[in-house]
């Protein structure tokens, strides 16, 4: 089985699906000739032509609005938003249009896209190349939100997302685009949307993470293990609809939970996860649920490694929660 990084795995998935399904088209800024600023679409322009891998004008609203029109026509567009920080000109199209199309038309007009977009910090990108806006999409009825942490899941979830009947925001953790490597099967397979992965079993505390922060959670769990604390680390993989059963089952076992995310704390997805845990497993809790997150500031440049919820911040939270 070939070793791939996430960029290669997503590229492989796109190529496979474009060969399999001629309705699939890619459009976005710099996705064509240059293959994307992160090279995720590299080679696809040459292979499939400029009718299926389209360099567009520099307009996120135009990209998503036009992609919705293509979807209504029957294509399966996979637009790329170059950085998720730049998705907001398209927010109206995503929230007012894409998310509501099936519902508002009584089912006459399902509009399905997979919007790929790099997410997260740790690449010295400052305010506008580092943010994690997932909550702003999870909050919108009608959208699915996916964020893989590794090459295997990235390809499998991408293929599942493209074949899913609903619109999907596909967040790619850019910090581990090339750092995360692993075996990726050649050919076709999917990873179920809405299924979390228990990447490490433990009985003392549940640690929930996704994307690039999964690796920080695992590193913190390693440190805690040296002190005899066994962490159960869950990679959500799909943020919405979240795999509530896996979370509740784990929390019922451990009674303790730490949620990790890069986005600011207030109204971050961690708030919803802890509310759900309180609703569904309150009587099993042995300690207050804990959040380790970005701070409620704009994403800082020089101090980004202090802002991010890295292992050095997750580890004491695990210890505190486990020993409460």
């Amino acid at each position: 089985m070939p070793q791939m990084n996430m960029v290669q795995a997503i590229n492989d998935g796109l190529r496979l699906e474009m060969k399999r399904d001629e309705r699939v088209v890619i459009l976005g800024e710099d996705v064509g000739k240059v293959g994307g600023v992160f090279r995720v679409t590299q080679g696809l322009f040459d292979e499939f032509g400029d009718d299926r891998v389209i360099d567009t004008p520099l307009s996120e609203g135009g990209i998503i609005g036009a992609a919705i029109g293509m979807a209504l026509y029957g294509l399966v567009p996979v637009p790329e938003i170059q950085f998720s920080d730049f998705i907001f000109p398209a927010y109206d199209q995503i929230v007012s249009e894409l998310a509501k199309y099936r519902y508002r038309s009584g089912g006459e007009y399902p509009a399905k896209l997979v919007i790929r977009t790099p997410v997260g910090g740790g690449i010295r990108g400052g305010h506008y190349h580092s943010q994690s806006p997932e909550s702003l999409f999870i909050h919108v009825a009608g959208l699915k939100v996916v964020c893989p942490s590794n090459p295997y899941d990235a390809k499998g979830l991408l293929l599942a997302s493209i074949r899913d009947p609903d619109p999907v925001l596909f967040f790619e953790p850019k910090r581990v685009y090339r750092a995360a490597k692993g075996e990726v099967p050649e050919g076709d397979y999917t990873v179920d949307i809405s299924k979390a992965s228990v990447v490490r079993e433990g009985k003392h505390v549940t640690v929930i993470a996704w994307g690039a922060m999964l690796y920080e959670a695992i590193a913190a769990a390693d440190q805690a293990a040296a002190q005899g604390i066994e962490s159960e680390v869950i990679d959500l993989r799909t943020l919405w609809p979240v795999d509530i059963d896996t979370i509740v089952e784990s929390v019922k076992k451990t009674g303790r939970v730490v949620v990790v995310h890069e986005a600011p704390k207030t109204c971050g997805f961690g708030a919803e996860l802890i509310a759900l845990i309180n609703e569904k497993a309150f009587l099993h809790l042995e300690a207050p649920p804990k959040r380790v997150t970005g701070f409620d500031t704009p994403f800082p440049y020089t101090l980004e490694m202090e802002y991010l919820p890295l292992a050095h911040r997750i580890f004491p939270a695990i210890v505190e929660t486990a020993s409460f």
Partner: protein, 384 residues
């Protein structure tokens, strides 16, 4: 009952006052009611009569909806009073393969293309038979069978979608065009720029139909742009543009047919500015007395597109007062019947609130559906 539909002296006022009229505004119908032979799009007389009948329907429907809203029987109506020629003329110029992306004033186009009056009325009442299943406010219908898109309230969002749809058809080499409706206010929106820009760059077969009706709620057209006209905006996008008298059915048909022909020939998009006037308020929620003078409106009433078309019909001996009376009586009956059916129909079932958010219900919606159905208002729903 329909006092506005009488041959009045529309010809006594200049054809398009209070509009940014420039040289080259396409006009076909002359003041004596006849058509300028050099501009005549040669519309079949049967089609002209059919369009007139339809314009009368749209006018009477508009008036009836306002009445129902004032009576508290429906919550809202947003109409097209005075803009019937711009809407019907453009819809009638399309081919069967072409698609319409509506703003929210174009129920006349939807009905022309095949949406039934009953379906429209079910939407106005938001009942279980509403094509939008009671999920949207009145005048937010949908009709795929008529190749008529789904309506949303945000301004301009349909414009880029119409471009994307046409673009996809072009990629697939399917012979069709899209026509997208919007008001002049929408030319200030992001998506007007995005749509025009993408359409210009990729030469999509799209007809941009700007109904310049003079008003965006209370804001007059001159507050939307410093351009000499809205059509002029096409120049910067490399898109051929034209102004037409939007109250002249024949002019609207001519420029739309030309635009569709350009699209079909691979010539890409066209921007049409149809000069017309919003005789009514923005919607039933609006009181235009707060921001505009009645005498201006009265001037435009004299240029009523129905009156104008009737004048052509009279000149050509295609219509009689007896036919008019018969048509109005027929429409009155159809409206009464559609209203009665829509009023009698049950509201949507509670559980349908959760359908179509996704293709199938995720766990959270299953939970919330169960909660609603077990709730105190679940019993007796539909009997209030």
């Amino acid at each position: 009952m329909v006092t506005s539909i009488t041959p009045a002296a529309w010809s006594q006022v200049p054809s398009v006052p209070q509009s940014p009229k420039h040289d080259g505004v396409v006009e076909v119908q002359r003041e004596d009611g006849s058509l300028d032979p050099t501009m005549d799009p040669k519309v079949d007389n049967d089609l002209v009569v059919a369009l007139y009948r339809h314009m009368v329907l749209v006018r009477l429907l508009d008036e009836r909806m306002v009445l129902l809203q004032r009576q508290g029987r429906i919550g809202f109506h947003i109409g097209s009073l005075g803009e019937e020629a711009a809407i019907l003329g453009s819809a009638a110029a399309l081919g069967d393969n072409d698609w319409l992306f509506p703003c929210y004033r174009e129920f006349g186009a939807a009905l022309w293309r095949g949406m039934t009056l009953e379906a429209y009325m079910h939407n106005m009442f938001g009942n279980a038979l509403d094509p939008a299943k009671g999920r949207q406010m009145p005048d937010h219908y949908t009709c795929r069978a008529a190749k008529f898109g789904s309506i949303s309230s945000p301004i301009g969002t349909q414009i880029t979608q119409a471009v994307g749809f046409a673009w996809a058809a072009k990629m697939k080499k399917d012979p069709l065009a899209t026509l997208v409706y919007f008001g002049e206010g929408a030319t200030s929106s992001n998506e007007f720029h995005n749509g025009m820009n993408f359409a210009g760059v990729f030469k999509t077969p799209t007809v941009f139909l700007c109904r310049n009706n003079g008003w965006a709620i209370s804001v007059p057209a001159e507050r939307q742009t410093a351009s000499a006209s809205f059509a002029e905006k096409g120049v910067a996008y490399g898109i051929p543009s034209v102004q037409c008298d939007g109250n002249d059915l024949f002019a609207v048909i001519k420029v739309t047919r030309d635009a569709v022909a350009r699209a079909a020939a691979g010539g890409g998009p066209t921007l049409i500015e149809a000069l017309t006037y919003r005789i009514s308020g923005h919607s039933t929620s609006d009181d235009p007395k707060a921001y505009r003078k009645d005498d201006v409106v009265e001037n435009w009433r004299k240029k009523d597109p129905l009156v104008r078309l009737r004048k052509y019909l009279d000149t050509a001996n295609l219509w009689t007062d007896a036919q008019q009376a018969e048509l109005e009586a027929k429409i009155d009956g159809e409206l009464k019947s559609a209203v009665a059916k829509a009023e009698e129909a049950a509201p949507p079932k509670l559980e349908t609130m959760f359908d179509d958010v996704y293709a199938s219900l995720p766990w959270n919606l299953k939970e919330q559906k169960a909660e609603l159905l077990a709730g105190p208002r679940a019993k007796g729903h539909g009997q209030h």
